[in-house]
C-alpha cells in the first residue's frame, strides 16, 4: 500500500514536560531511556522508575563544551578541531512545589519535617520526632496495614514517610533513592525517614491501616521499614550533598512528533532559589506565584556503543507521514 506524506515545518509545542528517575549513587548507575523502545511512552503515565514532575517553564539548555582548533603551518591555520571540555547545563522552573521538585531545586539534601514529640527541643530541621510505627505484613505501595493502636495515630490528610531506622551506617543513605550522604555515624534513629523520598499523602485512615493517594516511590514497605507523620519539608543552603538524577524532558509537537532530551546524570548546581511571577502582569503589587528554580550540571557517561563520553542525548520522533 502506498503512503502519502507532507513536509513538516519546525515542531510547534506548547510546553515541556519533565521526568526524573533516581541515579544509583553507590554504583553511579543512571536510569536508561531508550527512545526506540520507550519513545511512545504515555506522557501521563511514564514507565517506572521515571517520575513525572509535570509541566515546567523557561526550559533552557546551555551547551558549555569548548572546542579549540589545532593549528599548523605558517601562517597557522586550523587543521583539526579538538574538544577541550565537555559540559552542559539545564535550567527551568517547576510549576509545583512537591517533595521531589523542592529536592531537585535545592543544591543540597532535602528533608522531611517529622511530627515532633511532645516537649521535644526545637531544631532548625525538625525536633525529635514521635516514635515511628511498624507496618504489618501485606502492606502495599498504596495501602499500609497497621495495628489498631498504631492506626489511631494517623488521620486522613496527613503525610507520611516510610523507611528504615538509621543504624549508624555511613555513605549514601536511602534506597532506592539516595537522599543524603552520611560522612560520619549519626545518632538520630529517624535520620533515614528525615531524608527519604518515600513519602505520600494519606487519603483514608481506618482502624486497620492507611490508604495513600499515590503509590510510595519506593514501592511496598520493605522489611524493617517504619512510618512517621510528616508535617512539611525543609532544605538548607550549604552542606556537601548534591542531588543527582537522570532526567528526561519531552516536547510534544502539534503533529504528534516528539523531541526528547535525555540527561543520564544531572546534578543540582545552585542553591535554593525562587522566581516570583505576578499573577496579573498589570498589577505588580498583587498576588504572585512562587516558582522553584532549578539549575543543573550535566555529568558525563560513557556510551557503550562506541566508548564516547557524552552528557546528553537528543532524540526526535517525527510526525506520522512527515518527510524526513
Amino acid at each position: 500500500m502506498a503512503a502519502t506524506w507532507f513536509s513538516a515545518p519546525a515542531p510547534v509545542t506548547r510546553r515541556v514536560r519533565a521526568y526524573f528517575a533516581p541515579v544509583n549513587r553507590a554504583a553511579q548507575t543512571p536510569v536508561l531511556f531508550d527512545p526506540s523502545e520507550q519513545g511512545r511512552l504515555s506522557l501521563d503515565a511514564p514507565p517506572s522508575p521515571w517520575i513525572s514532575l509535570g509541566w515546567i517553564q523557561d526550559f533552557m539548555r546551555k551547551p558549555a563544551s569548548k572546542s579549540a582548533p589545532l593549528l599548523t603551518g605558517i601562517p597557522a591555520a586550523p587543521l583539526e578541531q579538538v574538544r577541550e571540555t565537555l559540559q552542559a547545563q539545564v535550567s527551568f522552573q517547576f510549576l509545583s512545589w512537591t517533595k521531589l521538585t523542592m529536592a531537585l531545586a535545592t543544591g543540597s539534601q532535602h528533608m522531611n519535617l517529622l511530627a515532633p514529640a511532645t516537649g521535644a527541643a526545637a531544631a532548625a530541621d525538625g525536633a525529635q520526632a514521635i516514635p515511628a510505627v511498624t507496618p504489618q505484613s501485606g502492606s502495599t505501595s498504596t495501602s499500609i496495614l497497621l495495628a489498631t493502636a498504631d492506626a489511631a495515630k494517623f488521620t486522613a490528610g496527613s503525610m507520611i514517610a516510610v523507611d528504615a531506622d538509621y543504624t549508624g551506617q555511613t555513605g549514601f543513605v536511602g534506597v532506592p533513592i539516595a537522599g543524603a550522604y552520611a560522612r560520619q555515624a549519626l545518632t538520630d534513629v529517624d535520620y533515614i525517614r528525615r531524608v527519604t523520598f518515600n513519602v505520600a499523602l494519606v487519603t483514608q485512615a481506618g482502624a486497620t491501616g492507611l490508604t495513600l493517594a499515590e503509590p510510595l516511590p519506593g514501592g511496598a514497605p520493605a522489611v524493617g521499614a517504619k512510618l512517621q507523620v510528616v508535617t512539611g519539608f525543609v532544605d538548607r543552603e550549604g552542606g556537601s550533598f548534591y542531588q543527582e538524577w537522570s532526567a528526561l524532558f519531552v516536547m510534544q509537537g502539534s503533529q504528534g512528533e516528539r523531541i526528547f532530551f535525555y540527561y543520564p546524570r544531572l546534578q543540582t548546581m545552585t542553591g535554593a532559589e525562587e522566581a516570583i511571577t505576578p499573577l496579573n502582569g498589570k498589577s505588580q503589587n498583587g498576588q504572585s506565584r512562587v516558582l522553584l528554580k532549578g539549575q543543573f550540571l550535566a555529568l558525563s557517561v560513557t556510551d557503550p556503543l562506541d566508548g564516547e563520553r557524552v552528557v546528553c542525548y537528543r532524540s526526535f520522533l517525527p510526525a506520522a507521514n512527515a518527510l524526513v
Binding site: S7, A8, V12, Q255
Partner: protein, 161 residues
C-alpha cells in the same frame, strides 16, 4: 482551511456530547448538540441561549514554511438567561457552567484533520491545533448574560487543499 475549521468544530461538538449530553438545541427539525457554526446556519436575529456559537473571524498565513501554516481566529459566543424554574436567578451559575464546559471542550489542544466533504470523513495527514481560549468580560443585557472566548486555530495546508 475549511477542513481545519470543520475538524475543530466537530471535535468540540463530539467532546460536548460527553461533557454535557443534555446541552442540545432543536435546529432545523432535529435535536443536535448545543454547538453550531454561525456561517453554516441561516442568519440569526439573535443567538440562541445556552448554546455555543462558533464565529470565524481573522486569518493569517505563514507561507515561508515547508508547509503553509494557516491561523484562524475563532470566536465562541454563548449566552444564557438562566432557567425558568429559578426565575433566571441562576443565570450566573449557568454562564459559569458554560465557561467550564468550554474549557473542557478545548482540551486537548489538537485533533486530527479530517475532510468532511467525503463520506465517511477522510483522515488527512496533519493535525489541527490551537491555543488556550482568551475569555472576554461578561456582557449584561437585561436578564441575559453573554460572553465570548477567542481561540486561535492553526493548521498546515496539505496537498490538494
Amino acid at each position: 482551511m475549511q477542513n481545519a475549521k470543520d475538524s475543530f468544530y466537530m471535535t468540540l461538538r463530539t467532546r460536548l456530547t460527553v461533557i454535557d449530553p443534555e446541552r442540545t438545541i432543536l435546529l432545523r427539525g432535529s435535536v443536535r448538540p448545543g454547538i453550531l457554526v454561525e456561517e453554516a446556519e441561516a442568519p440569526f436575529s439573535q443567538f440562541p441561549n445556552d448554546v455555543f456559537v462558533l464565529r470565524w473571524l481573522g486569518m493569517a498565513a505563514d507561507m515561508d514554511l515547508a508547509s503553509t501554516m494557516v491561523a484562524e481566529q475563532c470566536e465562541i459566543v454563548y449566552q444564557t438567561c438562566g432557567t425558568q424554574s429559578f426565575g433566571g436567578l441562576d443565570r450566573g451559575r449557568a454562564l459559569s457552567a458554560m465557561d467550564q464546559e468550554l474549557m473542557a471542550m478545548v482540551q486537548p489542544f489538537y485533533t486530527p484533520k479530517l475532510n468532511y466533504v467525503a463520506t465517511p470523513p477522510a483522515a488527512m495527514l496533519t493535525q489541527v491545533f490551537w491555543d488556550e481560549p482568551v475569555f472576554a468580560p461578561i456582557v449584561v443585557q437585561r436578564d441575559r448574560l453573554s460572553r465570548s472566548a477567542s481561540v486561535m486555530v492553526y493548521s498546515y495546508q496539505e496537498q490538494g487543499e
